[in-house]
Symmetry: C2
Subunit: 194 residues, 2 copies
């Protein structure tokens, strides 16, 4: 083991994102990332399995937070309100990472392999949330529908949050998107959003 490097993990992530933006994800090597961060390749591999992992490092923690939000919602909460609690818990994880999230999204959108990976992570999150709802006693197909509806709110709220010049918090935008979803699905409502 080499010597301890302060904030090595964060420095590597920052360097990787900079290089992916400057040169493209495919053109960037682990050696270049380590050099930019002022660290060694060996240090890189102590923190990340490969250069893709740098971009998806947080997805496990995010899923745990969202699931714990659903599990911890009041027992009386309806399925979609439990989902809203999960989204609120997830929002906290992103709070001070808006610029990072913008940069990361630009890298992912530009690469087919990364887009696939992102879709798989989102599908996995949806499945975990449906599972958490079933754990609350919610029957199928309600659990899957509520989970998917919550994921729709998450995706749309997140896209708005990383849009240029958007200043509202992710938590606010999730709540707005949830209200909008309820308006869209309200039976007999006259053409919402038109």
């Amino acid at each position: 083991m080499g010597r301890w490097e302060p904030n090595a993990r964060e420095r590597l992530a920052k360097a990787a994102l900079e290089l992916y933006r400057e040169r493209g994800y495919e053109q960037t090597t682990v050696a270049e990332i380590a050099k930019r961060a002022g660290l060694t390749e060996r240090t890189f591999f102590r923190h990340y399995a490969d250069k893709r992992e740098v971009l998806f490092d947080g997805s496990g923690a995010l899923q745990e937070l969202a699931v714990s939000g659903v599990v911890g919602a009041p027992e009386s909460a309806a399925p979609l309100d439990a989902m809203a609690a999960g989204l609120e818990a997830a929002s906290g994880w992103f709070a001070d990472r808006r610029e990072h999230a913008r940069q990361r999204q630009a890298v992912i959108v530009a690469n087919a392999e990364l887009r696939e990976r992102e879709l798989i992570k989102l599908a996995s999150l949806s499945a975990a949330l449906a599972d958490a709802l079933r754990g609350r006693g919610v029957a199928e197909p309600t659990a899957s529908l509520a989970a998917e509806a919550g994921m729709a709110v998450f995706k749309v709220g997140f896209q708005r949050w990383i849009a240029e010049a958007e200043e509202a918090t992710l938590s606010q935008l999730m709540r707005e998107s949830m209200a909008e979803l309820k308006a869209v699905t309200a039976h007999g409502q006259a053409r919402p959003g038109r």
Copy 2:
């Protein structure tokens, strides 16, 4: 060009699905598919680019049908009702293919690469439907939320339709799932589905 082979396309698709089920997708070669169908490899490649394409052959036609359903909905239809019209149009495409859909799903679930491909096709369908809604004058984020909500109904309805022993039609199950989504998202409703 070889001689004309009656129903070559369908015979190849049927043979491929049989072999993917029997031996696994990865273990099956194009030569084996052609042999099982009583055709040549050359004929296979006149119909399909590769062995994966056999499984995703219909996704373009499905997307066109769903989009045309949204575009053709009455001008007065609310966004989610236009989505329902799209799902109804898409249901028709599947009508006499339940057993095929079951077999296909079993193959896709068993292979990571195919699951990724399926997720991309679904994301592409969702984007095309949001685009069709915007073409009807539906503003963002309503268009994206309605499209994603409709996709949730599609996924859940489809899963129910291919479940063993399920006898209701896809169209019926889509309508039930849509009603269930509306119940899940109805503001103030007491814990639907519990």
